[in-house]
Symmetry: C2
Subunit: 248 residues, 2 copies
């Protein structure tokens, strides 16, 4: 769980924290959310490469991403890791229903990030009182599940090129839906290493690199450590078979 060296931002206004906004309390009337939850949450700075939690940790807190990119993954006995999802501002993670003991995955910060932490017990208590909060959590879970199933289809059936194209397209739309793209809508922030991209797509870093070079050579995209430019969006969607309107 969060180490003592974390910088805790007590008393900082959380008004722009997504968990207090769109994601979780979107459907809860404002007076309720102000009343019952806001004062109980804390903001943390999480430097790049630091974990928020690792597999086996007690499920005691739920986190909302305010700033930065994080990687949710599961590790394999041979040391490899399978990326489950990139977490963007507005996502929340670490929620477990009451009765569940510990988490089955790990979350590490890709960039310097800011997250907001809520005690699980209070969420559970709130869910008993406010049906709309429970419904909202269920809705988030369901969308995440649909996304996982798209990923499973990719891991099991798609080629390396298709998987990478799909992932780029998915990230692009998730960023776009949150207003996290700049004026140049063909350019997106892309702060993940090729190794992480390989983790997410079930590929080795070496092969990930080859595919990126191929996509570049074909004029589809250009990627570097800071950002990624999509030169041919329709072709990217075509390669990745990206036709899912329900991106979150």
């Amino acid at each position: 769980m969060l180490s003592p060296s974390q910088v805790q931002l007590n008393g900082v206004s959380c008004s722009n924290c997504p968990m207090h906004g769109l994601s979780l309390f979107g459907s809860v009337s404002p007076d309720r959310s102000n009343d019952l939850v806001v004062r109980r949450s804390d903001r943390f700075k999480v430097p790049a490469r630091r974990h928020i939690y690792e597999r086996g940790a007690a499920a005691s807190m739920t986190f909302s991403v305010c700033e930065g990119w994080l990687l949710m993954y599961r590790s394999h006995s041979d040391g490899g890791r399978q990326g489950l999802r990139i977490l963007l501002p507005g996502d929340f993670v670490g929620y477990m229903p009451s009765g569940e003991q510990h988490l089955h995955h790990s979350v590490v910060a890709v960039t310097d990030s800011v997250v907001c932490a809520f005690p699980q017990a209070e969420l559970h208590a709130m869910m008993e009182i406010h049906a709309d909060l429970a419904a909202q959590i269920t809705r988030i879970q369901a969308r995440f599940m649909a996304s996982c199933q798209s990923a499973m289809l990719g891991l099991g059936r798609k080629t390396a090129e298709q998987r990478i194209a799909y992932l780029v397209g998915e990230l692009y739309h998730r960023l776009k839906n949150r207003g996290l793209l700049g004026a140049d809508t063909s350019r997106m922030p892309f702060p993940i290493t090729q190794e992480m991209l390989g983790d997410l797509t079930g590929l080795t870093p070496v092969h990930t690199n080859r595919v990126l070079r191929k996509l570049h050579a074909e004029g589809v995209l250009t990627a570097n450590r800071q950002d990624l430019v999509i030169h041919d969006m329709s072709r990217l969607m075509e390669i990745g078979e990206f036709n899912n309107p329900a991106v979150i």
Copy 2:
């Protein structure tokens, strides 16, 4: 959705239907569940190979499996399918939070099955009143999600042999936890084709066959179309890296 040729079992007692028992209403006090839901549900016979619903169908009903095995999958543009999960008696499927329009996967009966259907709208209405029902659904979703993530790790990082060993181990424990094993606890029902097994593990039927033959040659298991005998359980768990106590 269910075709007209479905045999509907109106008026049949549903007392042994898992959705009315363990899975969904386990935490709801009996008077409530009898009062509000039981009378609204219908039982259907679903013959092997028939779909309960296919991708894109409106999310209007939630189903509970009473008898039989079903396959939840997602199909790829090349015609291949990626299996997401085997559904066993006691599982439920097709639930979508209110506001979601349609389902992103398909469900087909592997064996002749009996399912129980509930209108989504009523579940949503109930969740607003009964917090324990909402909590139960959230819990089921979370466990299913953990299972999906194990599958993702397998699809992305494990060898064919590991994936198959893991899947067999998982099914074995799920059956055991529900009391669906016979007296001979090394023998489990196994009514799925090798092609379906390949769908679930991201392999071709041909390669699936080779792996099964190899596991047989090594004295780990013997499979046929009816059942599967595990000769060396500890080795099976070892190969599949099956160490997850939270199987559902």
